[in-house]
Amino acid sequence: MTLTSKTAAELRELFQKGEVTVKEVTEETFKTIEQTDEKIHAFVHLTKEEALKHAEQLDKQAANERGPLYGVPVGIKDNIVTKDIVTTCSSKMLENFVPVYDATVVEKLRAAGAVSVGKLNMDEFAMGSTTETSYFGNTLNPWNLNHVPGGSSGGSAAAVAAGEVPLSLGSDTGGSVRQPAAFCGVVGMKPTYGRISRFGLTAFGSSLDQVGPISRTVEDNALLLNVLAGEDDNDSSSSAKVVPDYTAALTGDIKGLKIAVPSAYLGEGVQPEVAEAVKAALQVLESQGASWEEVELPHVQYAPTVYYVISSSEASSNYSRFDGLRYGFHTENPENLEQAYFRTRQEGFGREVKKRLIFGTYAMSADHHEEVYVRAQKVRALIAEDFNKVFEDYDVVIGPSAACPALPLGDTLTDKAVYYANDILATPANLTGRPAISLPCGFVNELPIGLQIMGKHFDEETVYKVAHAYEQATDFHKRTPAIQEGN
């Protein structure tokens, strides 16, 4: 077992015993990345020099000054700003953009002693679910290089799965942490809206976006959320609720837990092997003292459309900031200001982004605002109400994280119903603001399957508790892709 395939919790123990230095771990990390990333292209930018310097500083730190993630290498999705380090959102629009401040989550990681090793690939501006819309080329799935890693946080999930880093940050607007976590066989959490500050996360759909921790184990995920969560003066939507120690919830005791399984979550479009894996997971949880029942969510089938309208509308407003004047890409020799805007945005944004911005503008326009945007917001309220009712009687909602295992690169063959089912599984957590985690629960043709556990608002503890109990009873999380052994 190499140093880089260890979990954050295991590394912490090695540091405590003084068996290894931060510099050794950091050097080993870059060695692994240099070997592996040629194959999977998870990173868009490495910060080796800065990381080694930081590691040397940490090695001088007294034991009682060490933070909870002391010496642990982390990768950061490239839509999270990093001071003096290029932050591209995997777009030509920001190819050379160097932010002048750190996102709150980046500051928190540093304060906790984590060593940032670089920026991770993603779908351009987080708009996609395959990482294929990245301006810098796609990331490949570490389990099978002919498949996508999912997205939009494809680089974040692939880097953790491939053993390049034990922890990474992703962001989740409509499944962008959980779906790639499922496709890559790692643990990804989208916390409650407001649990983590969004300051410095490039806004996409502001009422949906959350930063999310990605790891190989539930314990590591809880350790990372401990560091990231909390109120921030710079984000008025961040919650003042006290941050508990999430690792304290990992007791393994789920006796009496009540699980709801929406019928749509195992219905049309969900591949049979995926549904079987989730049912087998429910049996494991049952054997641990939980009980489950099927429930109906009368409006959940509208979630993908509602999500698409709301996220595109919010983006069309948010993205007015990319004007090519203050920062980022700018067109050559425009004749006037108007031409500068039009050409900068035509040349700087990719097709998927432009499609969503034009559609969002349509949805927000005076003629269509009521019938499209406001109607979507009303259906959003009905979807949220469906979930509120279910959570009156149940502790968690469980289903697959995605309807299928990782799709092949450039997929055009898969049934549209599978894509639609993916969105039915992914988007409700964002529309309702609820926490939801994905963790490995099986394999189809050597590709991982993800189990999704959704909880009550600000009850990440129960979500982690259930995920941990399941993880401890199974060994899917112990399997590693062959690429980790240098194959």
Binding site: F97, V100, Y101, T192, G194, S207, L208, D233, S236, S237, Y302, P304, T305, V306, Y308, V309, S316, Y319, S320, G324, L325, R326, Y327, H330, P334, E335, N336, L337, E338, A340, Y341, F342, R345, Q346, E347, R351, K354, K355, I358, F359, G360, T361, Y362, A363, S365, V374, R375, A376, Q377, K378, V379, R380, A381, L382, A384, N430, T432, G433, R434, H457
Partner: protein, 95 residues
């Protein structure tokens, strides 16, 4: 059958300040027509009396002290701009 014409693409792209080529117009017209067709499914939902949900977690009047902070370096911020003069960002001719 929902239609979203090439002229519609141009009309809305103008609002959002995105230049579109002839080829783009065709591509977006087809893609956005599909999206609008799926949006029409929302019309079958009875939303009478439902208040639009603007935010996933209710939050009212989040306030803090208005304390000036020395946050960002002006020179560094200007350095990211295409052009600047006397501490101001310079833009191309407006007319």
């Amino acid at each position: 059958m929902t239609t979203f014409s090439k002229d519609d693409v141009k009309y809305f792209a103008d609002f959002v300040r995105i230049g579109v080529s002839e080829e783009d117009k065709e591509y977006y017209a087809a893609k956005i027509a599909d999206l609008i067709a799926s949006v029409e499914n929302l019309n079958e939902v009875d939303v009478s009396g439902v208040k639009p949900m603007t935010h996933p977690i209710p939050m009212i009047n989040v306030l803090r002290e208005d304390t000036p902070k020395d946050i960002l370096d002006r020179e560094k911020m200007l350095a990211t701009a295409e052009d600047h003069e006397d501490g101001l960002i310079k833009v191309p001719d407006i007319l």
